[in-house]
Symmetry: C2
Amino acid sequence: MKNTYNNVINYIYGKNSVLEAISQNPKRINKIYFSQGINFDNKLKKINELAQKNSILIQFTNLNKFNKYFENGEKKLTNINFQGVIASVSPVEYLDFEDFLNQNSNSYRKIVILDGVEDPHNFGAIIRTLAAASYDSVIVPKHRSCPISATVEKTSVGAINHIPVIKANSLPTIVDTLKKNNWWIIAADGQSKDNYFDISYKDMNFAIILGAEGEGVSKTLLNKADFKVKIPSNFESLNVSAACAVIVYESIRQIHQM
Amino acid sequence: MKNTYNNVINYIYGKNSVLEAISQNPKRINKIYFSQGINFDNKLKKINELAQKNSILIQFTNLNKFNKYFENGEKKLTNINFQGVIASVSPVEYLDFEDFLNQNSNSYRKIVILDGVEDPHNFGAIIRTLAAASYDSVIVPKHRSCPISATVEKTSVGAINHIPVIKANSLPTIVDTLKKNNWWIIAADGQSKDNYFDISYKDMNFAIILGAEGEGVSKTLLNKADFKVKIPSNFESLNVSAACAVIVYESIRQIHQM
């Protein structure tokens, strides 16, 4: 059983390694991949059970496509015996939403919610901006989000170790809970009449929701938002990480300046 | 002589094709590559002469590394006979600085100067932001800049066709000329005491200078700037395209709002 943490931090394989990881550190497991058509022995059954208990995504697939992630220096390995299971592991631990909400804080808190941002370069750039602006957290959905990969870590220039990431089963539920706790919800929406600089970001806890390139923030979340704001543009919308920087730094400007 | 414009817009090769391109459209040629140790016949001499006359960069190199850029659908070509010369061609035409300066404009003009930004993704993202914000142009140095490649065009989502690019032999000369013409020069500088939102961007022609990741704006240009501004950060500096979006949109906010 080779634990591949040395070469690749993103994936581990083998029944014992995966079982150990999911038992010890379930919050760091992004996803479990089982080989298509595999017969579940006791260890695989236990992995499956722990994955379900911890709401970890499960996918059945042909594991051979993962060969490329397990390289031994210059030597490319092929046909590794994965023993039917691979776990994608995050280099950082995710934060519990409830724990975050109950944290004591002397100052107002600011977070970003990413609704469907799947590109690792954008995700990494956003994390870097949030660390620069001292934001408190970023919330991503369990589905349709970007796992915390080596690319994210690199693009964030290490900021991923400074910004706690919360993984949500349901963004609408998270938004409802935030609202019940007197947070204000601001959604980016190209169709809005209000500009992002027309609203106040001061003296309140708030969450900024940003959507995927092209699709934007989902209707469900837009309907729950207290404010919808656009970034005026005479061309197409900004890239999502540029949009994030613009809105986040408007909040910083207001807090600094006024 | 194959003119490869159909498959690849970035490079053309062959004496006749390159000679035609450099004669007809010298402003669109980024660079001429000659084969190392080639004997110059009349056509190559003429190409060399026109390149020098139009201040086009010239490099002597092993041309075989360019094989990968000339693909014929699925079939990879190797050992193409380049006839000793390849031209890197921009998909858009560069604008003359003098022409830009002498353009009539009813409103104040806003530009960005990139001092050493060589990453095509950052360059493309910056172009996209400038198009969204209706900036008038971007100035890049002839050396240490990013050629307008397919990556730039893609990352800019086509905005490269909307923002005229000016290629400068010398950025300090450009800045001096702008200042003589009553433009204001604003340089991004992490060491500055002033924040980017502490200055006014209204009722003036101005240029924002952004530097390369890590190195920042060169000392020569910093010394010429009328304003030096920082983006406050509790982590590392922002990525250059995020920094560009933040400062550019602060100017838009001020012009819209006040």
